[in-house]
């Protein structure tokens, strides 16, 4: 049995993280050796937390060495727990940090998911402030951004982060691993404040059903956990509609192009013709199943103009969300997804004309000399709603926009718009 375990980082560039080494012993109690960058200010607090942690984890005799580069308490706790587990000690009960007041806020099915910001699950320095950049969703990633050897440590860290950090209004998302490992990941996040789970590389509705079943088992009547399957292969794209409908917990269907293009044997290009079919397929599958269609990530963090063009293109295709890997992308994505001012103004006129026609009991909606078809009204209503939700239009616009009132309806006949 291993008697020594270590977790975290202590190389020169480390910030807001720490390294913990635990050597389990048979006697002698807990011996702490602490080297901390913030020792003068938090040394006592750190010692107290480590002592409490050993007790809570059921470690009575050990040498605990800590090299701290300003880790927040939830990180320190996660590193200690990971090191203890790696030393071969399985705690009887979990050592859960005191939860943030809003950590178990229920998920909202229909909320905007324009931006989802990926954060590497084992890099705590990005966690506390990421929500301040205003993404619709924050993803603590357990999959591709975490090295295989660190998966266990990342799980503890992600659990602690979910419980203790304010995400500042962002949806609390976790991307789990594929297959069995992903199902095991769920034990670390369900019941700890996760609102939506991203399931990678889905090719079979059964995968989603299995994830949903495990979540139901784990949450045991607790808050609902939503799902966003990610389509990243030819087979997945082929079955997009079935996957989107595989569980009532699915609220969005996303596409990941890096793996998809590799899977079909193509190079990913700027123009993206190689992935056009798959994107259209995912989009239509999502819409057909009544869930949000979400586009892939834009990975050039230096190219804001390119990002904006990419979002406008995705929006034109019908997507309602985009993946981000840098906080500065969020505002650009939101701005590009928001309806343009002329689009809003036109939609407001159409909605007013529609409401006016309804009030007058007219079956036909017209704007000026033009007849307005029902789908046009439907789209205008959606645009006005999105404009209100994205702050482009005051919720009380009917009161504040008298100028938007339509011209008096004229009795005319003729074709639609």
């Amino acid at each position: 049995m291993a008697r020594f375990g270590e977790a975290g980082k202590r190389d020169a560039g480390t910030r807001s993280d720490c390294w913990v080494g635990v050597e389990l012993r048979d006697s002698g109690g807990i011996r702490l050796e602490l080297k901390s960058k913030v020792g003068a200010l938090y040394g006592e607090a750190i010692r107290a937390q480590l002592t409490e942690g050993c007790r809570a984890l059921g470690v009575a005799d050990a040498k605990v060495e800590v090299v701290d580069a300003g880790a927040l308490p939830y990180v320190l706790a996660a590193r200690l727990e990971a090191a203890v587990r790696r030393a071969g000690h399985e705690p009887e009960a979990p050592w859960l940090p005191a939860a943030w007041a809003g950590f178990d806020r229920p998920a909202e099915r229909g909320r905007l998911r324009r931006s989802r910001l990926y954060l590497p699950g084992n890099e705590p320095k990005f966690f506390p402030n990421a929500g301040l950049h205003g993404p619709d969703g924050l993803i603590l990633d357990l999959e591709d951004s975490v090295a295989p050897a660190e998966k266990d440590a990342a799980r503890v860290l992600v659990r602690n982060a979910l419980r203790t950090l304010d995400f500042h209004g962002a949806e609390r998302m976790v991307r789990i691993n594929q297959g069995e490992r992903g199902l095991a990941d769920l034990e670390w996040v369900v019941g700890h404040g996760v609102q939506l789970v991203l399931v990678p590389k889905v090719e079979d509705p059964a995968q989603i059903a299995a994830v949903a079943a495990r979540i139901d088992q784990l949450r045991a009547g607790g808050p609902e956990v939503l799902l966003m399957p990610i389509i990243e292969s030819a087979l997945g794209a082929w079955r997009a509609f079935e996957i989107a409908g595989a569980s009532p917990a699915v609220v969005a269907l996303a596409i990941g192009l890096e793996d998809y293009t590799a899977d079909i044997g193509a190079q990913r290009t700027q123009a993206g013709t190689e992935s056009f079919w798959a994107r259209a397929q995912v989009l239509n599958g999502a819409r057909a199943a009544g869930v949000q269609p979400i586009d892939t990530v834009f990975s050039d963090v230096g190219d804001m103009a390119g990002l904006r063009a990419s979002v406008l293109e995705a929006k034109a295709l019908g997507f309602t969300g985009k993946g981000c890997i840098h906080p500065r992308q969020v505002a650009v994505v939101h701005d590009a997804f928001a309806p343009a001012p002329d689009e809003v103004a036109k939609s407001v006129r159409i909605v007013c004309a529609f409401e006016d026609a309804q009030a007058r009991g007219l079956g036909v909606v017209s704007l000026g000399t033009k007849m307005i078809d029902a789908p046009v009204v439907k789209r205008a209503l959606a645009t006005v709603e999105l404009a209100v939700r994205t702050g482009r239009l005051d919720a009380e616009w009917r009161e504040t926009l008298p100028a938007a009132a339509p011209a008096p309806a004229k009795k005319e006949t003729g074709g639609g718009e």
């Binding site: 913030v38 003068a40 950090l165 906080p327």
Partner: protein, 518 residues
């Protein structure tokens, strides 16, 4: 050790520093100076060569000619920043000459000056009056320096010299270009640094002035930022500094998303507060956040076609681009941070060099700092009274000089864009470790978690009412951060021995730095 009294800010300060009486801080704008300015010794042209050639063969000889004696005050300047070789050469020469107990009076110190510790250990230097960072800061805060450090702002240094509070025996001015008469400039030469404003007072008030250059040109050296008529001797050496460390090739804006957010919030605040309008003026520091603030500000000005009347530097490539693009009429520059700034100062008449006299000196007939519509500065700590600290870390160690920070607080709107915590250490505290700037002069604190407006600024509170910006009480941001960091930090354990005195812009003592417990 001197008696300590409580000053008007409630801080314990010595009434005597290094044997000279000191006046406790009496409140902002309270201390009234009297008397006349100090002046250097009278001299006669008959004592200087008629052909104008004041060159001597070595620094050592120059120090001998200057009458170097034990206990003298020697000043140097930080135009060459971390590339400076001159200050180190001066004290090496003084050590060789057997001088002891000197007072080093730099305008700032840099890591390249860490060797001064050896001179303090050997007794060549008694103590330092200037900024103390890194190992020098530790040396002082651990109580190993004889004498008390005195930290002054750039304006306060000018004030101390002109008021006669500090008499400089020998000023040594590193000059990127000079002529044999002693005219000198910083805007050209292999070690070009821009301007020599920090040495101007020393040139005018010191008893003896030595210009050291590695680029001697025949008389006249044009422009003459330093006038040779103040200069006693000129020494030519191989190299006054390492150009790579004097100015960076290019200034870098921050890549940190949090700092970019803070910079953006700061620019939006200025916009919503009505500060950004035709003919306005601003100054931003050299840090990454302040630079990025300048970029966001520039974008707003471009979009609205707004032109500033003047921008105060620390100049850099971004300010230069604003000048060249016509977004400001002038850059009034106090120091140059990159090569673009140096080039612009050399070539562009709209890029004007200034000094602590014009910009910062409190004991003058006004200064530029108080005319600024807005300044953007850093801080290591702020407290709930909006008081600011720039010199010590929360653990009590000296880590920065004051620079122009205190002087800039005179602006119409002083904004501190700062992260709410660094690693685990909260930046908003109950009471700043060292008081450098009184809260009544600090108007706005911008963090990534929200913007706090000093309640004393009812006009700003009113202007931002209903804003979409995250305006929050400072105490609320503090509580949120302490929650994240696991409670407020412990206080450093300090002795009651004063190791450094912090001067206010008027020469009074605003706070003390105490020796750390072992």
């Amino acid at each position: 050790m001197s008696r300590l009294v409580q000053n008007a800010a409630g801080r314990l300060v010595p009434v005597e520093i290094n044997g000279a009486p000191a006046v406790p801080f009496a409140g902002v704008r309270r201390h009234q100076p009297s008397g006349r300015r100090a002046g250097p010794l009278l001299r006669s042209c008959s004592d200087y060569p008629a052909d104008g050639d004041k060159t001597v063969e070595s620094l050592k000889q120059a120090l001998l000619n200057a009458g170097l004696r034990d206990g003298m005050t020697i000043s140097t300047h930080h135009h060459l920043r971390n590339g400076d070789r001159v200050a180190n050469l001066v004290f090496a020469a003084a050590a060789e000459l057997g001088a002891r107990d000197l007072r080093w009076f730099p305008s700032a110190s840099f890591p390249c000056h860490d060797g001064m510790i050896a001179h303090m250990e050997s007794g060549v230097i008694h103590h330092i009056e200037g900024s103390l960072n890194g190992p020098l800061g530790d040396y002082c805060t651990e109580g190993r320096m004889r004498g008390t450090a005195v930290l002054r702002s750039h304006g306060g240094r000018w004030q101390a010299i002109q008021d006669g509070e500090v008499r400089i025996d020998i000023a040594v001015i590193a000059a990127p270009t000079a002529d044999p008469f002693g005219n000198a400039t910083g805007d050209r030469g292999p070690a070009a640094c821009g301007l020599l404003g920090f040495a101007l007072a020393d040139s005018q008030f010191a008893d003896h002035v030595i210009v050291v250059t590695d680029n001697l040109v025949p008389f006249p050296c044009i422009p003459w930022q330093i006038q040779g008529n103040h200069v006693d001797q000129v020494v030519v050496i191989d190299s006054i500094g390492d150009p790579a460390k004097i100015v960076s090739g290019s200034t870098q804006i921050t890549k940190s998303p949090d700092r970019l957010l803070i910079a953006e919030l700061t620019a939006r605040f200025c916009d919503e507060a009505g500060i950004i309008r035709d003919g306005f003026s601003f100054q931003a520091g050299a840090g990454g956040t302040a630079l990025s603030f300048g970029i966001f500000l520039r974008d707003i000005m471009r979009e609205r076609r707004i032109k500033a009347r003047f921008v105060r530097g620390g100049s850099n490539q971004y300010l230069v681009s604003m000048l060249e693009e016509g977004l400001t009429d002038y850059i009034l520059d106090g120091q140059t941070f990159d090569l673009e700034g140096v080039r612009s100062m050399r070539e562009n008449p709209g890029h004007v060099n200034t000094s602590p006299f014009t910009s910062y000196n409190w004991h003058g007939k006004g200064n530029f700092a108080s005319m600024l519509d807005c300044v953007v500065l850093g801080a290591t700590e702020v407290d709930l009274g909006f008081n600011g600290n720039v010199v010590t870390h929360s653990d009590g160690r000296l880590l920065h000089g004051i620079g122009g920070w205190q002087n800039c607080l005179a602006s119409n709107c002083t904004i501190l864009p700062i992260p709410s915590f660094r690693d685990r250490i909260p930046v908003i505290v109950d009471r700043v470790t060292t008081l450098c700037g009184p809260g009544e002069l600090i108007d706005v604190i911008v963090t990534e978690r929200g913007i706090a407006i000093n309640p004393l600024r009812r006009d700003l509170v009113e202007a931002l009412r209903g804003s979409s910006l995250p305006i929050r009480p400072l105490a609320e941001i503090k509580a949120e951060v302490e929650d994240l960091c696991g409670g407020p930090p412990a206080k450093p354990r300090l002795t009651d021995r004063v190791v450094a005195a912090i001067k206010w812009v008027d020469g009074t003592v605003i706070d003390s730095v105490f020796q750390l417990e072992k």
